[in-house]
């Protein structure tokens, strides 16, 4: 497998997962603009734009556990890019995804 050539596709895949996570968060808000889920969706979408500003917006295969599941998937994809082959700031974006995931995990614990 040529990982160098796959890198942009992996970034796109991570961004697609993040976009899907944002959609799930939006759905959790149930149309309530004052819901924390709505603002979280904005943060996830912003991070998706940082990972790949041009990603296919066709939805990836939906995952059963919604936001957290897609954030996990995005993080797994980002972590699978070998060091030195991705953009130099990929670690920062991965850290941001992990930060959002920990927030969602904390919220899930409350529910």
């Amino acid at each position: 497998m040529n990982t160098t050539n796959n890198c942009p596709q992996l970034l796109d895949l991570a961004a697609e997962h993040l976009t899907a996570a944002a959609r799930h968060a939006e759905a959790n808000a149930c149309g309530d603009l004052t819901s924390p889920w709505h603002s979280l969706a904005g943060q996830i979408q912003l991070t998706a734009g940082g990972v790949s500003p041009v990603c296919d917006d066709e939805p990836v295969a939906p995952r059963p556990f919604g936001v957290q599941d897609h954030l996990n998937a995005a993080l797994t994809v980002l972590d699978s890019i070998p060091s030195g082959l991705g953009p130099p700031d990929i670690g920062v974006w991965a850290w941001r995804v992990a930060d959002l995931r920990s927030l969602v995990t904390a919220w899930a614990g409350q529910a």
Binding site: L33, T34, P36, W37, H38, S39, L40, A41, G42, Q43, Q45, L46, T47, A48, G49, G50, P53, V54, D56, D57, D89, V92, R96, D99, A106, W107, Q110, A111
Partner: protein, 484 residues
């Protein structure tokens, strides 16, 4: 709160003028010269450089420039920047023709910008012995000098934003400047007259000249209107190590606004940032509406105003949500900066903490326990105004981006055409044509109007609910009737 407006500073200067008026102590020459130089600097920063444009615009600005140019040979000009030959002549107290002759002979270093000579003020001789006033002095005149100095710094630092804000309204910049300039001239006249009255006699020549000048200048300005949007120009100094929720909120808001401005000033901004500005705007409005609701409990109900403000905030939220969705259908293919993402994340965290414990909404009593609601609303009021500015900037973006072919969308989502056949098949992004995004332009206008109305409504509601927290001191003074 660590927010100061130009109006606050002038109100403080008025207080110091009253203190000065009752002081019998003679004014030392050094203290006077510090005040003299600082007051001139503030006037220059208020009026700004000479401008051109339409004839009416140039004439209205020239009227203010004439007032500045009539100042008795200034002791010091600005410490940095470039000035034209006319101002050099004024600063040196020499005829303009003599200055231009010196420039042509190379005796005064200058550059030619195609219209006029520009001279770096650091190349001009100036009185180095005129120092800024001592901020620790207990005397009223040095304190007055320091207050005017802070006002000059505020104007110099935020001039672009102030110009932007005033131009965006329905008032010319010069008509907004004239009342403030008249106020400053009044302060100068009081200080100069006081210096003449208390002496010493050997040092009153300069204050006398400035007192005569300020009286004439006030007459030159004529009957200016009261109040000015310029007085709301604010300087922020959020805590560097925020601890309490109020401090975190203030710091988070300021950092985010600064980062958002920087992002939107990029030649081609990221659409993800634009979407996030809408998202954060919605969050800000939601928190403001909730705090307004909470504010009605501890203080007297403010009735219809607060309810009206909440209505305006909710209407703006809907418009922003619509704009967010539309911006999500296109991209400029630009990444958001790390600075912006970090600031947005911090603001999201603190705004959520204000009204929610995780996912659970906090009760009003709990909010009031954790937070000084009046202070928070004062901070949010400025931020909501900043959001209106950001949205107004965003309103200008769709047209140039579309005409430049810098907004992209998947070919499969756009009007099919022969040219796009291959791109559709390959799943590529292509430039969106202006006719393909009319909704984006309309939504940008709607959201700009909605956010302006929301900012005005919140301003009114917060001013009524918390007059003693946020009102300018000048307003309070006019509102109170002294007992006789």
């Amino acid at each position: 709160m660590t927010t100061t407006t130009l109006g606050d500073l002038l109100a403080r200067a008025d207080d110091l003028c009253r203190e000065l008026r009752d002081s019998p102590d003679p004014v030392p020459l050094t203290a006077w010269e510090s005040f003299d130089a600082t007051a001139y600097l503030l006037m220059r920063d208020l009026v700004g450089p000479a401008r051109t444009g339409s004839r009416a615009f140039a004439l209205s600005h020239a009227a203010l420039c004439r007032v500045i140019d009539a100042y008795p040979a200034p002791l010091r000009g600005a410490s940095t920047g470039s000035v034209g030959a006319r101002e050099v002549a004024h600063l040196l107290g020499r005829p303009r023709s003599a200055v231009i002759a010196n420039i042509r002979k190379g005796q005064i270093p200058s550059t030619w910008d195609g219209r006029q000579y520009l001279v770096d003020v650091t190349n001009l001789p100036s009185r180095q012995d005129v120092r800024p006033a001592d901020p620790l002095s207990p005397e009223p005149l040095p304190r007055l000098s320091c207050t005017l100095g802070v006002a000059a710094d505020l104007m110099a630092e935020h001039r672009g934003q102030v110009t932007h804000d005033v131009d965006a309204g329905f008032e010319t910049l010069d008509s907004a400047t004239a009342p403030v300039l008249a106020h400053v001239l009044g302060i100068i006249h009081v200080a100069a007259s006081h210096a003449v009255r208390v002496g010493p006699l050997s040092d009153i020549d300069r204050p006398l000249a400035v007192a005569r000048y300020s009286a004439t200048a006030l007459d030159m300005l004529g009957d200016v209107r009261r109040g000015s949007p310029m007085l709301a120009a604010a300087s922020f100094s959020p805590p560097s190590n925020p601890v309490s929720l109020n401090e975190r909120l203030e710091s988070g808001l300021r950092q985010w606004v600064t980062a958002a401005r920087a992002e939107l000033n990029r030649t081609v901004p990221s659409t993800d940032v634009i979407r996030n500005v809408m998202n954060q705007g919605i969050h800000l409005y939601a928190v403001s509406a909730r705090l307004l609701e909470a504010a009605e409990f501890p203080v007297e109900p403010v009735g219809d105003t607060a309810a009206g403000a909440r209505g305006s905030l909710h209407a703006a939220m809907e418009a922003m949500s619509q704009a967010d969705r539309l911006w999500g259908s296109v991209t400029t293919a630009m990444r958001p900066s790390h600075e912006y993402v970090a600031a947005a994340r911090e603001l999201h965290a603190v705004l959520t903490d204000v009204t929610h414990d995780g996912l659970h909404p906090r009760g009003i009593n709990e909010i009031a326990k954790n937070l000084d609601i009046g202070q928070s609303l004062a901070d949010l009021r400025y931020a909501v105004r900043d959001v209106a500015d950001l949205v107004r900037d965003i309103q200008q973006l769709p047209d140039p981006l579309l005409r430049s072919g810098l907004l992209f969308a998947p070919a499969s989502k756009l009007t099919p055409s022969v040219e796009r056949l291959h791109d559709r098949a390959a799943g590529r992004y292509v430039a969106v044509l202006p006719v393909e995004a009319p909704d984006l332009v309309t939504a940008a206008v709607t959201v700009a109007r909605g956010s302006d109305l929301a900012a005005q409504a919140l301003d009114r509601a917060v001013s009524q609910a918390f007059p003693f927290t946020i009102a300018r001191r000048g307003d309070l003074r006019r509102a109170s009737v002294p007992e006789l």
